[in-house]
């Protein structure tokens, strides 16, 4: 796999930033030269054997390097650039874990990042010692209110607490048990399997020429790969003694129980949840017993991290397009789905697409936090609605009318929903009053003209008592409709009659990519360029003359703009000769302009890598500038005290100035990482 120069530079810088120069040098050579044995690494880096070996050990420990020893011959090492890039994301992952599982989990995950792959026992031990030392620090009278210490001093739980947390994280897939296979390049494994199959199972050896044999090969290969993955999963569930699709957090169980108590109709799902809850406890304790002496080695699963970060990115996108409340509903939906999605590329193959995870409105409603007011953020039209094209009539409806209708709506839909599943295949037929249809048809208020007046309920005073459960489901349904009808197609209604939803991630991400490219083009080439690009995207390859007619721009303007964009690689020309003689006679050749999303994605990605590495360079420069004061703060006797205790005002100012800049640079790095995520990983 070839990598761009910028990507190589960025990975090298990230490793340098995190693990220091020596490891970075080795890593860079591996990136540039591909697989190498130790002696070659030494030769190319001019490093001594001790340094090389130690460096490699660190790299393997952090899973930055794949290795493989053949049956004969030396061990080859190969750079794992995905893991290197993931270093830039570690802050986000830790933040995610903290926001969901609290400070204790954050410390555990941080330690995992720190140690690379670790035995559970070692992790626990390191933890215990930290705890002890933290306690000691406190008794010595050091107020550990700053920086690193504050973190370790958080609420550190007992060992049992940690095991529980680890189980939870394993369930989620955020951390994974390490097996030997993970230290090999997946592509290598595939190649080897392929070779094995061709030599052993397919008679005749060579598969060239016969497509039948090729198909056979692919069939067997897929099967084998799946078997390997399945083995992994089996192993995992053996450890956990639990079905992998259960609901795991106590919060969910609790709420489902509450739901059942408050409400008569118990769906089958509730029983399942309950069962799962008890089984969780059993499996949990047996897990603890098994693993008190555990040689279970765990590490952070970066693929899963990407899934989780993708979710937050999607929620952010929904927030920007549809509003806050809808994004919270969407976040809840994604939270349900994420457990069943092991990696971002999941769902691309036919099989995986067939059993894509789905979620019903009811489940979302039951687990959505009570603090979210689902009735907010849904636009309501007043009157008969736009479907019939009737603009006049009740268009001047007043809020009281609206509220009255609302109340009736509540009672009506409440009694109706009591007995039936909330939505059927079409999703609209269970609305009691005619307004329901309007909401479904018009809620994503994107098509502006001929629209009856839209009022938003946000401002209306709503007595809390009105929010019964059915009401809530009704509102959430509306949010879901909003999501489904959006141009981006954030969710997809499943045609199974159960009112369940799925998400086609690839499609959504593609839309987001397009939006991102649009944004960039608008920024760089102004409205005219943006217009041209959108036209080209929509209509495909176009002649300049046609383009002129469609965009309603002057030909001169178009030509300049297109040339400008072509120079920086955003659009390009295709030459179509009418006859065999090309070149000299220009009127016999048609020139078609086109815009290619894929190509622009690569362009954006490459430029993003470049700016990321420049940010890191800049950070280094800033560090050198502030060197004198930074050296002071890194001194081992003062580094854990707050700087204002020992620094003079002047140097304190300098330190703050540096910290501001550092924050800005790292913040920008994080934002660029979002872009990389959109264009590559998600």
């Amino acid at each position: 796999m070839s990598r761009s120069q910028n990507a190589v530079e960025l990975c090298a810088l990230l490793v340098d930033e995190t693990y220091g120069e020596l490891t970075s040098r080795i890593f860079t050579i591996l990136l540039r030269r591909g697989k190498l044995p130790i002696s070659e690494i030494s030769r190319h880096t001019r490093l001594g054997p001790k340094a090389t070996r130690n460096g490699l050990a660190v790299l393997i420990q952090q899973n930055l390097v794949y290795y493989h020893t053949g049956k004969t011959g030396p061990t080859f090492y190969e750079a794992n650039d995905g893991a290197a890039y993931a270093l830039a994301r570690s802050g986000k992952v830790i933040e995610f874990v903290e926001s969901r599982y609290g400070a204790f989990a954050r410390d555990v995950v941080q330690n995992l990042f720190l140690f690379g792959h670790t035995k559970v026992s070692d992790l626990a031990e390191a933890y215990a010692s930290q705890q002890k030392q933290a306690a000691k620090g406190k008794s010595n009278g050091h107020s550990a209110a700053n920086g690193v210490n504050a973190h370790t001093n958080g609420n550190i739980g007992s060992g049992g607490h940690m095991d529980g947390l680890l189980v939870e994280l394993l369930e989620l897939g955020l951390i994974e048990p390490v097996v030997q296979r993970m230290f090999r390049n997946p592509a290598d494994i595939k190649d080897e399997l392929e070779l094995d199959i061709t030599t052993n199972e397919i008679a005749g050896g060579s598969i060239k020429g016969s497509s039948k044999k090729k198909e056979q090969l692919h069939g067997i290969l897929d099967e084998r790969l799946k078997r390997i993955e399945a083995e992994d999963r089996e192993w995992r569930s053996k450890v956990l003694k639990r079905p992998s699709n259960g609901v795991l957090t106590n919060g969910v169980n609790g709420s489902s129980k509450k739901r059942r108590l408050s409400h008569g109709d118990s769906v089958n799902g509730d029983h399942n949840c309950e069962d799962d809850g008890t089984r969780l406890d059993v499996g949990y304790s047996s897990f603890l017993k098994q693993n008190k002496s555990p040689n279970l080695v765990i590490r952070i699963n970066h693929e899963k991290c990407a899934v989780l970060l993708r979710n937050s990115q999607l929620v952010e996108a929904v927030k920007n397009r549809l509003g806050d409340t809808t994004s919270q509903v969407y976040a809840e939906l994604l939270k349900h789905l994420e457990k069943k999605i092991p990696k971002c590329a999941y769902g691309t193959t036919e099989d995986e697409y067939q059993d894509r995870p789905t979620i019903s409105t009811r489940d979302i409603a039951s687990s959505l936090s009570k603090s979210v007011n689902a009735s907010l953020g849904i636009g309501k039209t007043i009157g008969e609605g736009a479907k019939s094209g009737e603009v006049a009539g009740v268009k001047l409806g007043s809020p009281p009318l609206n509220r009255k209708r609302k109340a009736g709506d509540l009672e009506g839909s409440g009694s109706e929903d009591e007995d039936d599943p909330p939505i059927n295949g079409n999703g609209t037929s269970h609305e009691v009053d005619h307004d329901g249809d309007d909401v479904f048809a018009d809620a994503p208020a994107v098509k502006p003209p001929k629209r009856p007046k839209v009022t938003f309920q946000d401002k209306l005073p709503e007595p809390e008592g009105l929010h019964s459960r059915e009401d809530r489901i009704y509102h959430i349904k509306q949010h879901m409709a909003l999501l489904a009808d959006d141009q981006f197609g954030f969710v997809k209604r499943e045609a199974d009659g159960q009112g369940s939803w799925s998400v086609n991630f690839q499609k959504v991400i593609k839309k987001i990519q397009e939006a991102e490219i649009d944004k960039l083009v608008l920024e760089m080439f102004g409205p005219a360029g943006h217009r041209l690009v959108r036209m080209l995207r929509q209509l495909g390859k176009l002649d300049e003359k046609q383009l002129k007619d469609i965009t309603l721009m002057k030909q001169k303007d178009i030509r300049t703009k297109l040339a400008e964009m072509q120079l920086s690689g955003w659009v390009d020309i295709q030459e179509v000769p009418k006859d065999a003689s090309r070149g000299a006679n220009n009127n016999r050749v048609i020139f078609l302009w086109f815009f290619d999303n894929e190509r622009c994605s690569l362009l954006v990605l490459d430029q993003t890598y470049k700016s990321m590495s420049r940010l890191l360079h800049r950070l280094e420069v800033e560090r050198r500038r502030a060197k004198s004061v930074l050296e002071l703060t890194h001194r081992s006797d003062v580094r854990d005290k707050p700087p204002d205790e020992y620094l003079s005002p002047a140097s304190l100012n300098e330190l703050h100035a540096f910290q501001d800049r550092e924050e800005m640079l790292l913040g920008q790095l994080g934002r660029l990482d979002d872009i990389v995520g959109i264009f590559k990983d998600y």
């Binding site: 030769r43 070996r53 933040e95 720190l114 924050e663």
Partner: protein, 254 residues
């Protein structure tokens, strides 16, 4: 990295029809347009200072949190034993690099050869608080799962396999070194532990030197033993100043 396998195409290089020559006609045209639209034109684009540069929107609380975690993590790694300090020669004015040799040549310089005697030559009392400079990651501070490493690295990892307990105390002390400095009682034990580690480390070195003799001789910046090659004049100049950097630097700390 890049999925399509055509990573390297950027900017103008990969485009057909775009040459390196300046397109006069195009420029003139562009200039005219810019004049029409009232944009100022000079020979160069405006310098991006002050009002010209667009400010990014301020960081959200969440981003700040992410940054804080990232910084904490990096700091912890940097304090840990696996981090290796930079040895770059020209930090302030880096030269352009054209090849691997040049790339390698910028590293591994000896601090003593390039230092400025007027500002940093004199050791001060506070130097004892300076963070330790690891040129090579210290593996003795961590328990490793040998089974997950290639066999040829086991000797490196296993240097001190016989005293696992000591290793573990070292992790605890090592990764949390700031704590022990506050506590005089633990300090003493720690110093003892460090001396232990030092002697073990030297044994290590001896072993490794044997290893080295088997392999092909390489230009070695970190090794302190020149294998009796004292009279080789070329090596004297190439390598002499790099003599004892890694380990002598380490000794200063202890």
């Amino acid at each position: 990295m890049s999925r399509g396998g055509r990573g390297g195409f950027g900017g103008r290089g990969g485009l057909k029809g775009a040459t390196w020559e300046q397109d006069e006609g195009l420029e003139a045209e562009a200039r005219k347009i810019r004049q029409n639209t009232g944009v100022k034109i000079g020979l160069f684009p405006e310098h991006p200072t002050g009002a010209n540069v667009k400010k990014p929107k301020p960081l959200t609380a969440r981003e700040k949190c992410q940054i804080r975690h990232l910084k904490t993590l990096l700091e912890q790694i940097h304090r840990g034993p696996l981090y290796s300090q930079p040895t770059k020669r020209n930090v302030d004015n880096p030269i352009k690099i054209f090849g691997e040799d040049q790339f390698n040549a910028q590293y591994g310089s000896d601090k003593k050869a390039t230092m400025d005697p007027f500002t940093e030559g004199v050791e001060t009392y506070s130097d004892r608080y300076a963070p330790p400079k690891n040129l090579v990651p210290k593996l003795s501070g961590r328990p490793f799962n040998n089974r997950l490493f290639p066999e040829e690295l086991w000797s490196t990892l296993n240097g001190e396999d016989e005293n696992v307990n000591r290793q573990k105390t070292l992790i605890q002390n090592g990764s949390r070194s700031r704590q022990k400095l506050k506590d005089p009682a633990s300090k003493k034990t720690d110093i003892l532990a460090r001396i232990d580690a030092m002697t073990a480390g030297e044994e290590d070195l001896d072993e490794l030197d044997e290893d080295e003799q088997e392999e092909e001789p390489v230009d070695d910046d970190f090794d302190d033993d020149e294998l009796g090659d004292d009279y080789n004049a070329e090596q004297y100049f190439e390598n002499g100043d790099d003599d004892d950097d890694g380990d002598a630097g380490g000794e200063d700390d202890y």
